[in-house]
């Protein structure tokens, strides 16, 4: 990578929490800025450019215009990093994909639904090649910093493929199952340092599934802990509707 990589930041359909999280690196922001040239970032600055080394892209693709824009970004960038659950897996937006799109539009906009074209919410990788992922909802800050330093050093970031339980156990958190709650940590990809269980809340699966999840086993665990089968899969689908498409019995 050239000395000061040119970085651009884009957003698609999402809540922009990931971008906000980048502005929330108060302690590191100045160091980050010292290592890169930020050349395009609509949420924080004016202006557009024609090419860049690294594009960080937030949000899922959900309109025809999105598809054109992401193709254009891919053409202009050397490295494309998906930021956050919406970009990596489709995120919560994917939940609407589990129901017929017309029904959903009808519910929200009634007879005016034809004013606003919409597609199923897609992960970036289902349209273009994504080089690296920063997972999480919002994107995990520690992971962003890891990916960022790797790119600055010119090495491949490692994407963890073990469960959140591992990190949770490394911190010796009380398992939320002990408190009578449920948790998706056992099949969710680590990298957040078990953030939610560390604060007593269950893991909602925002970082996506590990690469070879035993979903039947996970369903059994959830049912064992009081959920109905339908509810168990709904919980799993919160962030992973796209990954689970066709898997759910």
């Amino acid at each position: 990578m050239a000395d000061k990589p040119r970085v651009a930041i884009f957003d698609f359909t999402g809540c922009e929490g990931c971008e906000l999280n980048q502005l929330n690196f108060e302690d590191q922001l100045l160091d980050i800025l010292a290592h890169v040239d930020i050349v395009e970032w609509r949420e924080a600055m004016d202006g557009q450019v024609d090419e860049y080394d690294i594009a960080f892209v937030e949000g899922s693709l959900s309109t025809p215009d999105c598809i054109n824009r992401i193709n254009e970004i891919r053409r202009k960038t050397k490295v494309l990093v998906a930021l956050g659950a919406c970009a990596v897996q489709g995120g919560v937006n994917g939940m609407k994909n589990t129901r017929p799109i017309d029904e959903v539009r009808q519910e929200v906009y009634g007879d005016d639904k034809y004013l606003f074209p919409t597609l199923p919410a897609l992960a970036l990788s289902s349209v273009v090649k994504v080089d690296y992922n920063v997972r999480g909802c919002p994107m995990t800050q520690i992971e962003f910093l890891k990916v960022f330093t790797s790119l600055v050093m010119g090495k491949e970031p490692i994407e963890p493929d073990h469960s959140v339980c591992v990190d949770c156990k490394l911190k010796e958190n009380e398992c939320v199952y002990e408190k009578g709650m449920i948790c998706l940590g056992p099949v969710t990809r680590a990298g957040c340092d078990a953030h939610c269980p560390s604060f007593g809340q269950y893991c909602t699966g925002c970082r996506g599934l590990v690469s070879h999840p035993n979903l039947k086993g996970m369903e059994e665990i959830l049912v064992e802990h009081g959920l109905s089968v339908d509810e168990a899969w709904k919980r799993l689908e919160l962030y992973n509707a796209n990954e689970l498409e066709g898997v759910r019995p």
Partner: protein, 438 residues
């Protein structure tokens, strides 16, 4: 090109920068007649209300928090209030105080982010905050320090400032420790206080850059008897006074317009305004000394109807939030922190409404639940949506008043106007008032 005698004007700002979400400004004047002056919302709709359908009450706030990263805390708290009312979940005084503290943190962070990072570049005529790192390093470092502290309130009390973790129906999954709260208090007193004074000084020197423009407007915000209403209160209009929040639909009439994926709203006039300026106009009598000192220094007066002053009202509010946060922490510590578990045993399954002041104005959530505790109907009315009609009305009055200026200057004035509202466009595209009970 518009000149002093200009009669034709065409402005299209595509994907307005330094606002949250995607919007275009479109102005058309033909032979002196203003044909169009509007903010088009082109953010892709996300259909949250439909996503909520059939979901467990445990998940409602997790999902609605994702409507918007900037306002995630506001959505979460509002959602929890609606769920708790619908399910008859009592919450403790400690929970209320912790939520108020969180709202202060989120309001400070959002208001300061807007003032320093999104609005200030306009006052200094630069394209973003990044050049300021070179030219005004101490201001940037101060802004980062203030934002960090505001965010730390969220990190400590709710686990994370963006998409908070610990607030759940009935309480919190983790209570902060006394030591953590004491440290926050120390930093609020030792760092935030002087930084706020310095912020007022900095803004005072830039006040000349704030356009003079006035338009008489209906202002709507929450109002309560005992404090500067943020967490709770009646809905209060400068035109018609107070009504309980059960009448929120009347106070936020929504309708679909073709130029916006977000719905618009009106009550007594063609439009109304919510947000910091509305809160100031309704509740300035509830503010303490520091906030009033800041308001005086920055020329913010009760009954102000210059929308550009919204940014100033935000800074005044930040001062209030900092001081009140200290008071809340003192109260929590004096009462002794209790390791309470959230109360999640529903006593009924019905409909509930939550209304909260979030940085951009009043936010309403309403849910109905079935006997399994699953959402059967949901409605969220978002402040930016409530402001959109007002922005269009402002533009219609503003453009003829400044038509003598160059096109660039007109454009800048319009962009600054929209930014002054601190619009949150991702939020605004998720409204609905449709029941989907099967």
């Amino acid at each position: 090109m518009s000149t002093a005698t200009g009669t034709n004007l065409n402005i299209k700002v595509k994907h307005l920068t330094r606002v949250e979400g995607h919007g275009n400004i479109v102005v058309n004047m033909k032979e002196g007649v203003l044909e169009k002056a509007q903010l088009e919302i082109v953010e892709a709709p996300r259909y949250f209300e439909a996503m909520l359908k059939g979901r467990s009450f445990h998940e409602a706030a997790i999902i609605t928090s994702r409507i918007c990263g900037i306002c995630s805390l506001g959505h979460q708290i509002t959602s929890l209030k609606a769920t708790e009312q619908a399910l008859g979940l009592e919450i403790s005084e400690q929970t209320v105080q912790l939520r108020k503290l969180l709202i202060h943190g989120a309001t400070m962070q959002s208001n300061l982010l807007h003032a320093y990072f999104l609005a200030a570049p306009d006052f200094l005529k630069v394209g973003s905050v990044f050049p300021l790192v070179e030219t005004h390093p101490e201001v940037v470092v101060r802004a980062l320090r203030m934002k960090r502290l505001a965010n730390d309130i969220g990190d400590v009390v709710s686990g994370r400032a963006v998409h908070p973790i610990t607030p759940v129906p009935g309480g919190f999954t983790r209570i902060p420790t006394a030591g953590e709260l004491k440290e926050l208090k120390r930093r609020l007193a030792e760092d935030m206080y002087p930084d706020l004074l310095a912020t007022v000084e900095t803004l005072k020197s830039l006040a000349g850059a704030i356009p003079q423009f006035e338009r008489e407007t209906e202002y709507i915000s929450l109002r309560s008897d005992d404090d500067y209403a943020m967490y709770d209160g009646d809905i209060c209009s400068t035109d018609t006074g107070r009504v309980p929040d059960s009448e929120y639909l009347k106070m936020s009439n929504e309708f679909v317009v073709p130029h916006s994926t977000s719905k618009h709203a009106k009550v007594n006039r063609s439009s109304f305004m919510v947000g910091a300026l509305a809160r100031w106009n309704n509740n300035h009598d509830r503010l303490g000394e520091l906030a009033h000192t800041a308001a005086d220094a920055l020329g913010l007066k009760p009954g102000c109807c210059n929308p550009y002053m919204n940014t100033i009202a935000q800074v005044v509010e930040a001062a209030h939030c900092a001081i009140d946060s200290i008071a809340i922490i003192d109260k929590l510590l004096a009462d002794g922190l209790k390791d309470e578990q959230p109360n999640q045993e529903p006593t009924k399954f019905g409909t509930g409404i939550g209304s909260t002041e979030v940085p951009r104005g009043i936010l309403y959530h309403e849910y109905s639940y079935d006997r399994q505790g699953r959402v059967t109907a949901a409605n969220c009315i978002i402040p930016t949506g409530q402001n959109l009609a007002n922005i269009d009305d402002d533009m219609k009055k503003l453009v003829p008043e400044i038509i003598d200026k160059s096109k660039e200057e007109i454009t800048l004035h319009l962009e600054m106007l929209v930014r002054a509202y601190d619009p949150c466009i991702s939020c605004s595209v998720h409204m609905l008032d449709v029941d989907f009970i099967e």
